[in-house]
């Protein structure tokens, strides 16, 4: 059972529609006490880093996810701001984040490129993590972001996209996976990535 974390500003319903379409058992979860039957978590994202972290803390998710994901090694997929909050710090709202992956989140320079980065962009696939196998070579994925993550250790990178400069389109570290693009809104290419996360055996090596 996939638990889609349903917090104040997330687009949890869009992820639920996609999982429904893929035929994957799932439910929306609004608090940790609803998670007894959950094997893997999806943290969707639309909100800002500040509002997202505030909601996660308020609803008791930070401790719960730290136990289940970092402690027990349950599968986790962050999407969009759900990727960004995995890092140590975000320049958006000058926000301390979960810090599960080393690195920071910075703002695109709007004197160089139009910000937000909005639309379909390609992803260069990197690394050996099994999550990387689900990406379509030369495929386009839908991004909507003003901020981007830069992992300290490039081993966490699964996909790199360039917009003015290269940034993390997808990361994976063991059982923790995340995409900056909206898997649930990237047509067939995105659904394939979502399906791969659901099918992946965790814990995974690497």
């Amino acid at each position: 059972m996939i638990g889609i974390i349903d917090y104040r500003t997330g687009n949890s319903q869009s992820v639920a529609y996609a999982l429904g379409h893929l035929g994957v058992p799932h439910k929306l979860v609004t608090k940790p006490s609803e998670c007894d039957d959950i094997d893997k978590y999806v943290l969707p994202g639309v909100g800002s880093a500040g509002v997202t972290m505030e909601s996660l803390a308020h609803d008791g998710w930070v401790g719960h996810l730290t136990d289940k994901v970092l402690g027990d090694g349950q599968g986790f997929l962050g999407v969009c701001v759900g990727l960004q909050v995995l890092f140590e710090h975000s320049a958006e709202d000058d926000q301390e984040c979960l810090g599960w992956i080393k690195g920071t989140v910075q703002q695109f320079d709007n004197t160089e490129v139009r910000v937000p980065h909005m639309g379909w962009n390609t992803v260069d696939v990197r690394g050996e993590h099994p999550f990387a196998q689900s990406f379509t070579p030369g495929g386009y994925y839908y991004f909507v972001n003003s901020y981007y993550a830069v992992p300290t250790d490039s081993a966490a990178l699964v996909g790199v996209t360039t917009y003015g400069q290269p940034f993390a389109a997808a990361v994976a570290q063991g059982n923790i996976m995340a995409t900056q693009f909206h898997t649930e809104k990237s047509a067939r290419a995105g659904l394939q990535v979502l399906k791969a996360f659901c099918d992946l055996e965790v814990p995974v090596a690497g």
């Binding site: 319903q13 996609a18 379409h21 004197t111």
Partner: protein, 264 residues
């Protein structure tokens, strides 16, 4: 590299997609969810729905329509028309939209842009503007005035100035709808679209008037990163509608970067 987007914008009236000409004389096209499904399978890059009467009639947004579209089309969905508050935005996003489009309400209550942007992030808030060519005056130096309420009310506001202000208030994207060109097939109003792409650093979407593929290419050429192509795709007034596939193929031949069809 980022591809430019082909966007279908549904003008929805009484639960049906309609097609207008210069914001008038709407004729029926079909059911929004069915049309969305067809266009999704044809690889349209984005879908926008606009309830064209919600603002004037002070009606609630049709959340059921949003759900019906979102549950089977896995491309970004923007919803506009009749959004008056943060609570409305929550409801629309929870129904399956990614972005909220604000038009008349943004003029009446500009702080809604800032509130939405703070809550959901700038990328979530689209400022849609209806522009009409007028005589240049001291208060409208660009020669384009902002209208609201389905082009029925003129505001005395300069279009370029409003775009700049929208960016400052927190909008994440600007859609420039030309009232003069809407549904005419004469091409986008490149003058105002170009003035706005220069004035802001946000993505800008050209809207109103595309009748040929070269019009879309022209819009990309002046810096628009997306183009609304509703009439060409499904207007009953157009003799030969094109598929998204045909449009992308022709754009590719013109050297434009678009998301290829049937990839993955």
């Amino acid at each position: 590299m980022l591809a430019n987007r082909l966007i279908a914008c549904f003008d929805v009236k009484d639960g049906r997609v309609t097609k207008a000409q210069q914001f008038q004389d709407n004729i029926d096209v079909g059911d929004p969810a069915e049309l969305a499904d067809r266009l999704y399978r044809d690889d349209v890059d984005e879908i926008v729905t606009y309830d064209i009467m919600a603002s004037a009639q002070k009606r609630q947004i049709d959340l059921d329509m949003v759900r019906r579209i979102a549950h089977r089309t896995f491309v970004p969905l923007t919803v506009g028309g009749g959004i008056r508050s943060l609570e409305d935005m929550h409801l629309v996003l929870r129904a399956g939209a990614e972005k909220i489009s604000i038009d008349s309400m943004a003029v009446r209550k500009p702080e809604i842009i800032t509130q939405g942007s703070k809550e959901f992030g700038r990328q979530c808030i689209v400022l849609s503007m209806q522009v009409k060519r007028v005589e240049k005056t001291a208060s409208i130096p660009s020669g384009y005035e902002i209208a609201i309420d389905g082009a029925r009310t003129f505001t005395g506001m300069d279009a370029v100035e409003w775009a700049r202000r929208g960016q400052d208030l927190g909008a994440g994207e600007i859609v420039v709808n030309s009232i003069d060109r809407d549904g005419t097939g004469e091409g986008y109003d490149l003058e105002i679209t170009g003035l706005i792409t220069e004035a802001v650093s946000l993505p800008v979407i050209a809207s109103g008037g595309a009748g040929r593929i070269s019009h879309v290419s022209d819009a990309f050429g002046i810096g628009a990163t997306g183009a609304i192509v509703s009439s060409m795709l499904y207007s009953p007034r157009v003799e030969h509608n094109l598929t998204v596939e045909e449009m992308k193929e022709q754009l590719g031949e013109l050297g434009e970067r678009v998301r290829p069809v049937h990839s993955a």
